[in-house]
Amino acid sequence: MKISKPLRNVILFELFFPITLLTLGIYHGLMQTIYRSGLVHSAAEAHLDYYQGLTLHGVINAIVLTTFFAVAFGHAIMAYYLKKEPDIRFARISLIFMVVGTLMAAYAMLSGKASVLYTFYPPLRADPTFYLGAVFLIVGSWIAFWGWIILYRTWRKEHKTDKIPMAVLGNIANFTVWQICTLSVAVEVLVFILPWSMGWTNTINVALCRTLFWFFGHALVYFWLLPSYIMFYTFLPKLAGGKLYSGNAGRFSFMLFIILSIPVGVHHQFGEPGITSGTKLFQTILTFGITLPSFITAFTMAATLEYAGRKRGSKGLFGWMAKLPYLDTKNYMFGYLICGLILFIFGGLTGMVNASYSLNSMVHNTSWVPGHFHMTVAGPVYLAIIGMTLYLTSKLSGKPVRFPNLNIMVPYLWCIGILIFSYGLMSGGLLGEPRRTNLGLTYLNPASSQYRPDWIPSTAFALIGGIIMTLSALCYFITFFGTVFSKRKEEPILEFPDSELLHNEPTIGILNRFAPWVIMMIIVLLLAYIPAIMNISQYIGPGAQPFSPNNPVPMTF
């Protein structure tokens, strides 16, 4: 499909900008493994303090990269599958908001005024520009969505009985959840944190803010994940040389995500005051529910790949696993997606431990947690993002991918690195190793009374894994920037490896409308969160004053 220059440029910029920032995000990922292993015993290296770098790492990798990509990919999908471009004014205004927001937050973090980590829990206080920047970035993503809603509704009027294209269904489901869950963090920031951070109010209700954040925070991870799911269901079958085993399974999965992505946030708060065990147990059960779409996807992808493998002549129960195009440089997206799926097996399964009520006490805030989430957000999400970024950049600028032999290695190197890295983190976590901590200063410092030599092997594994991951990222940056700065050789085109269904699947009415699922979502949300808010009003006492990360004495204005 030909794509107009204005939309093309919006998408290309939205892909390019975060990858540039990602260089800093990956750099401080590696640095953390160096600090934590005790290779250095220092609070800051190269003018970047550990916790400042950790904040940059989380915000760039987990908020900026993911949000920009979701919007860019969303523009591309909506245009391609609905065969019509969204209103360019929405796309442009969205871009401006997101860039301005990112620059504001970057300023705050780089000048050391926002070392509060990407969760920015009060009563740690960051500079107001940090919070405002986050608001602009998120509102920018809403504006893109609003443009797509208008486009979708026009399409729907003209195609009343057609099946909604799978990618469009997934994208709208994803952004519907995003629109609702971000309202909570918008309230947290605009109503509570911003006035307090500027000295207009004296104290802040910490437990309430945390709860509002996590209303947003768990749905956030599905916002990250769903673009990868879209790729699994719409591209992977074709890339593998086969067909999708069940389209309805995919549609059902996306609809389940609408209902269950948000009302599970309390599973990040099992050890906190202010919320009763009854509320925590209820949200545990809901969280179990949301593992369902992922189990469905695991099977459906296996069946799809098995069909592709058998089509290529594989024999036996597992022979199909070997007959897939892992190392075909002309089909590199397959590698990015399959490595993501392999990592997600372990990422998803370990996530079930985290969600399981009292079992959470074994892992909460230990390094097990980043061990888990590097196999999810830094697994299928990261690989799908960087792979598709390269793909779209190449196609939309008419520049063939440079260094294809380096490129094909990227996901495999990454996969090996993550497995070693996460193994180290999870085993350390079971030994009590804390996350979000500069271990090199104390726990991994032989001169310290807190020295924990039993954490040496685990942090060493994380360091080795981190180095391999960085090598993979280096290969990717060489390929990506090499491609960007090469000469155009082809006509720009918007196209995707669109897959076919294996079976004749009827249109199931309930899977072709959003309204009933959105209504269910709101009902479950109210059932899950009204008790939580009521609990807080009963159990929580006074609010807290603001604190700088560097001073136990509260800030005054």
Binding site: A298, L349, M362, V363
Partner: protein, 43 residues
């Protein structure tokens, strides 16, 4: 063409079913491993 269609519809994902069963077993192993470790720490 007809032959292709019927062979496609006859496709039974035996390998995927086997994979899924192993996947579920892996999940149970990880989960119950952690569960019994928790029991042992609680005296």
């Amino acid at each position: 063409m007809e032959d292709n269609k019927t062979s496609e519809e006859k496709f039974v994902p035996k390998g995927a079913i086997a994979f899924f069963i192993l996947f579920v077993l892996l999940g149970a192993t990880i989960w119950y491993g952690m569960f019994f470790l928790m029991l042992s720490r609680h005296a």
